[in-house]
Amino acid sequence: MSAPARSPQVLDDKISGGIGASPQRPDGTLKVRGEFAYASDLWHENMVWGATLRSPHPHAGIRSIGIAKALAYPGVHAVLTHADVPGENAYGLKHQDTPVLAEDRVRYQGEPVALVAADHPEIARQALKLIEVDYEVWEPVTDMERAAHDETLPRLHENGNVVRHQRIVKGDPDARADVVVSGVYELGMQDQAFLGPEAGLAVPAEDGGVDLYLATQWLHVDQKQTAHALGLPVEKVRLTLSGVGGAFGGREDLSMQVHSCMLALHLGRPVKMSYNREESFFGHVHRHPARMYYEHGATKDGDLVYVKARMYFDGGAYASKTPVVVGNGTTLSVGPYNVPNAHIEGWGVYSNNPTCGAMRGLGAVQPTYAYESQMDKLATALGMDPAELRIRNAMSEGSTTVTGQVVDFPAPVAELVRRVRDMPLPPPNTDELGFPGGAANTTHGEGVVRGIGYGVTIKNIAYAEGLDDYSTARVRLQVIGGEPTALVHTAAAEVGQGLVTVQQQIARSELGVERITLHTSDTSVGDAGSSSASRQTYLTGGAVRNACLAVAERVYALAAERFGVEATNLSGGKVVAADGAVVADLAELLGEDVIEETREYHHRKTYPLDPETGQGNAHVQYGFSAHRAVVDVDTELGLVKVVQLDCAQDVGKAINPDAVLGQIHGGSAQGLGLAVMEEIQVTDGVVRNPSFTDYLIPTILDMPPMRVDILERPDPHAPYGVRGVGEPPTISATPAVANAIRAATGLELPRVPIKPEHLTGT
């Protein structure tokens, strides 16, 4: 079969700008014209619509599934269940514990049970209601702490309810200190709330395989899992990235991939699946809710002596990235501070709550909220300025982390705190829309108190604990229309962050060529890894650089062969020698030749943690950011307006300074959302607010102006000195806002999101 009529585009806009510039996005014109093909926009002749029946119960047995009535409904073409899964009915990023379609039990509300393909979405919706599932409803497991320790609870999976337990011990775990503060902190379940719901189009192929066009973060891991479930060799399951409407971690696990392919292969027809917002809330994993017990000890002068912490992460029904959350959560548990002694334990558990997995700031958001709350509490106990306490204990290059890893790259934490502290403060509010409550006229200034708070974080960049983390790029250089042109081809997912722009910038700078075309991302080139963990500029950027360097070497060889001159550089369309002399015009030298090279980039090796002590060089790089939040709180109504949210972040090297700013702005907004409004509310395993009416994300009236200070202290171990950017600002924004609200109200506020009830004692 052919490609879809509306299909992903090759990006070939004429744009210029190399490393360090901020050129326009190559997909920008398509996006502002409304012509960019997102996954939900795909369309194919003869296609039908797929839909998913999901469990209404968080925990139940399935006695039977009756599909006859649904199948008989006019306009329905197929109804499939677990019995129709061609390969193994199991997938998962870390553990293969997730059924494609439920068999004899469901473990969370919203678990997929059956599929329908029909002529129209409305027909599919009505047909879903005709599928008869006989459930035996069971008591759900819902408390993360009990799931970790209570052996009497039902075991949700073969190996029990603990997905991972990790201990980290540093120095003297029983150390004592002059001043001790403790607290129990909780964090609600946050949703990625990307704006483009899950969607894709599966097109059956003549070779018995399938072509899947979709929105994802990681084509190759989808390909591997989908092929396995379909019982097909990977080369018969080809994936092409279409436009992705945001991701933030929520597209790392499978959603409609196997389902759409099953229907397409069953029918021999293209099948489109496109979730609506409600289904999207059930169709992807969320951020792990957490409960964390912290105790900090310090000297009278404010030097940290020890940190003790026990942390629980609710992973929900399936493992997803829970093991990584426990790894990140424990290894980052003391924050960007020098702590000589520590005893940390973390548990990630199964429950019958919604499955939780990847979300921006994975595993670091939870402890950062807790330890930054503790730092403010400690500052109060010491009578110290909270910024000063952080500066005093800030880690730096050469510091040793809680896992015994020596930081061998810049770590300007104190500098970041100083910078946000010293930014000018906003004047008192005078705008009627600017008070807490906004346009809703709840105060004209009555009850409003201002507060200032800080949040600082450390986040590991890229994959950790011994994973061979890499990306692949293919670069082809040739003359097209008299102009040297490079085609860059990777499988990396552009999810909005601007990776397409960065790839072009790197190729322009390395090849000295203006015209860079981006091949659609697909699985016909090697793995790029996921657009997560703030890793793509580092890894795929590194791979594009390596491929460009290999292409350049071949150009130099060509020049040496023709002219007997050793060239060392490509610049402005010329081949240049070490002394700056132009050796040849690149277009003339290339003539009809096509030079193509494919290269990988692997980051430095990391190592697993010692299972007993948690010691080890687990991480390749850290990102750091600091926020200062200024809030106005209506203390009588418990409403909050964040007045200013300033950030300083070290990015190593800003390949694209404007895109870096965009990441910091957007990440900060998500952190603000978690602080004051965002939570998937779950009661007895049932989601109470799966809609944008009741799952609130910040509007333009909730986000304040931001001042951003970007530091560039290059990491000598990373390509161009880059440091991952995307995640840290999401993480440090939340405690900054929470601490500002504490400063305004004097309340302890041990849980985010902070609700009006928490501020008014109701």
Partner: protein
């Protein structure tokens, strides 16, 4: 599903009489959500979009008559002087896009306790004009709501307008939401001074199964206010008023907030809005619509 597109009110009423199960749709801001999420599959939709008189406002018997489908955006732009409380409430409805389509008639038809216009309508003693082929009747808005998302409409009736006396005194509207824009009310309060009647009107939203006035609070404050020679109100009076408003509520715990918080917040809103309105009254002028 059928789709009826009457060109006149008479046609619409005839269609509604013949198809009692047809759901009227104007701005679509409630009905379409129910359709999009399969919460409702009515036998027919009755589009009120082309009925001119439902989209007009004007004066009738000294009152402002607002056609049921006049969008909130026009109430804000065109009726802010005569109906400041309703205009303030309209400004808090959803988003600009929603205010361009949503209408008071739709709010009344849906009769959600969280509808933003209800507290303002209650405080201003609005009357709802209801029509059918049997004739037209007027229902005081306080008698219009009969339960959660229920109202007095008979199956053959349509809401055609609301009638509201132009403000004779200060009016206020406040709404609590957990976001600074585009949010459904956790609770809301409307207040109108009626110096001509020497009384204060109130309305509570998202505070009970139906929108309702705080009758005891109205009675209390009527005895406290000196309309002849107005003086600043004692804090104790404002607080008592707030407490009585809170007592009038019978809220629930839900995803948007707790019952206890709603009561607490209503007391604060009532106290503040009365304070603002009375200061305006004392000042002799009217504060511009917020």
């Amino acid at each position: 599903m059928d789709f009826f597109r009457p060109d006149s009110l008479a046609e619409a009423l005839a269609a509604k009489a013949e198809h009692a199960d047809a759901v009227p749709i104007a701005g679509g801001t409630d009905v379409m959500v129910e359709l999009n999420f399969d919460h409702r599959r009515p036998a027919a939709l009755l589009d009120l979009g082309r009925i001119v008189e439902l989209h007009e406002h004007g004066r009738q018997d000294g009152k402002v008559r607002i056609g049921a489908a006049v969008p909130y955006a026009r109430i804000i732009d065109e009726l802010g002087r005569e109906l400041p409380g309703l205009a303030m409430a309209a400004r808090t409805v959803g988003s600009p896009q929603i205010r361009n389509r949503g209408s008071v008639g739709g709010n009344l038809g849906a009769a959600s306790p969280a509808g933003d216009s209800h507290p303002a309508l209650l405080a201003a003693n609005a009357e709802v004009e209801i029509a059918s082929i049997r004739g037209t009747r007027m229902v005081p808005v306080k008698d219009f709501y009969t339960g959660v998302k229920r109202n007095v409409l008979a199956p053959d009736e349509l809401i055609t307008a609301v009638h509201i006396a132009p403000a004779t005194g200060a009016q206020q509207f406040s709404k609590v939401g957990t976001r600074n824009a585009m949010v459904i009310a956790v609770c809301a309060f409307g207040l109108a001074l009626h110096p001509d009647q020497k009384r204060v009107g109130t309305g509570l939203g998202s505070a009970a199964p139906t929108p309702r006035p705080a009758t005891k609070a109205e009675e209390f404050i009527a005895t406290e206010l000196d309309w002849e020679s107005p003086k600043p109100l004692a804090d104790s009076v404002l607080r008592r008023f707030g407490a009585l408003v809170a007592e009038a509520a019978s809220p629930i715990d839900d995803v948007r907030g707790s019952a206890a918080y709603r009561r607490h917040a209503l007391a604060v809103l009532a106290r503040r809005t009365l304070g603002w309105a009375w200061s305006e009254h004392l000042g002799g002028g009217r504060r511009a619509c917020a």
